[in-house]
Symmetry: C2
């Protein structure tokens, strides 16, 4: 939906997005009803459908906006840094800093990632983020500072560590963003360097029941 919005209209739209973000983050997409959103804001239902075609469109709007904001923040953080490993570190640090300031969005990401309706958008954003870091990894490999390996796969590994530790340390255990980032970076860079010789690859030959 595209509409010419007055200042008042823009404010109302932002208000809807803000309130809906909070409700979605708390209850999830499906359990949060449009009625709940408009009632919470004390406006009629028509207001919602004046600004958005559907509940789904609103959610996508939220996701897109946040993804864009995060990416810009990351780019700004690594700009002009020549060292690829430092770029990886700055990227991780920026992501965690941004997420610390947007906890609702972290939750929304989880919801969206598994919902058929939104997972494509999330995977796309994830792919972009992974490709960004994969570029730095490739450079690191070329410089002989990172072990041989598929940069995209390693990028996913970093994303996995970052997400999990952000959730547990930042949002559950309430650690400082900086210290969470330190931990993630230490593990991620160690992981990139790899481990010489898997202890017992293929030694386990069990089959699933």
């Amino acid at each position: 939906m595209t509409r010419r919005l007055t200042t008042r209209g823009q404010q109302r739209r932002d208000q809807l997005i803000g309130f809906a973000t909070a409700r979605f983050a708390e209850n999830g997409f499906h359990p949060t009803s449009v009625t709940e959103i408009v009632n919470g804001l004390g406006v009629g239902k028509g207001v919602f459908y004046w600004y958005f075609d559907s509940k789904e469109e609103l959610f996508i709007e939220i996701l897109r906006g946040a993804q864009q904001d995060l990416r810009r923040f990351q780019e700004k953080a690594i700009a002009n840094e020549p060292d690829p490993l430092a770029r990886i570190e700055f990227g991780i640090r920026a992501s965690i800093t941004w997420l610390a300031g947007h906890p609702d969005f972290f939750t929304l990401l989880q919801f969206a990632a598994i919902d058929e309706k939104f997972s494509k958008l999330i995977r796309l954003g994830e792919e972009i983020a992974v490709n960004d870091v994969a570029r730095h990894i490739r450079e690191g490999i070329d410089q002989g500072r990172i072990d041989e390996g598929d940069p995209v796969v390693l990028g996913h590994a970093i994303l996995g560590v970052t997400n999990q530790l952000t959730r547990v340390l930042l949002f559950e255990k309430k650690y400082e963003p900086g210290s969470v980032a330190d931990t993630v970076i230490r593990f991620a860079l160690g992981g990139l360097r790899g481990f010489s010789g898997v202890i017992a690859a293929g030694a386990l030959s069990v089959t699933s029941t």
Copy 2:
């Protein structure tokens, strides 16, 4: 709900669990209706409520059963292995092998993890898994083979890598479970060993917008 079940009843119950698992994995918990489940099985709605108090109870039942099965599988895989690093490797390998045989459950885990109604159960199971691996990590630290660090935090880091790479490599890119495990283990053990000296800790002093 506990009932005396005949053989026929037990079969029906299993059938409900099996079909519901597939539907939940495909559509998610909220969008899958009880009507859809019983219609798909060609039975009356009363059948569902003869075996389960609610849709929620069924879902919890599925989660609990799968968590139990996975844990037993992990335990069997590391039994009698004296080397802590090998136990970590075997545990990771077993988890990925098991998930390869139960792809629906992997999806269900994601759904459950973010739903307020089920996240407690998931976090509990996650905590158990992390504590398991944390024990081996602590041993590895004591043996001087793993860098100093909070074993529980490191356990979460391993869980994060495992989950992400399992999703992307095993389920999306359809790699072999064994090769996915190799990649995860290499990164995880490298991460445990850590990275001597963070490149530029705290050098980034940006604030979130």
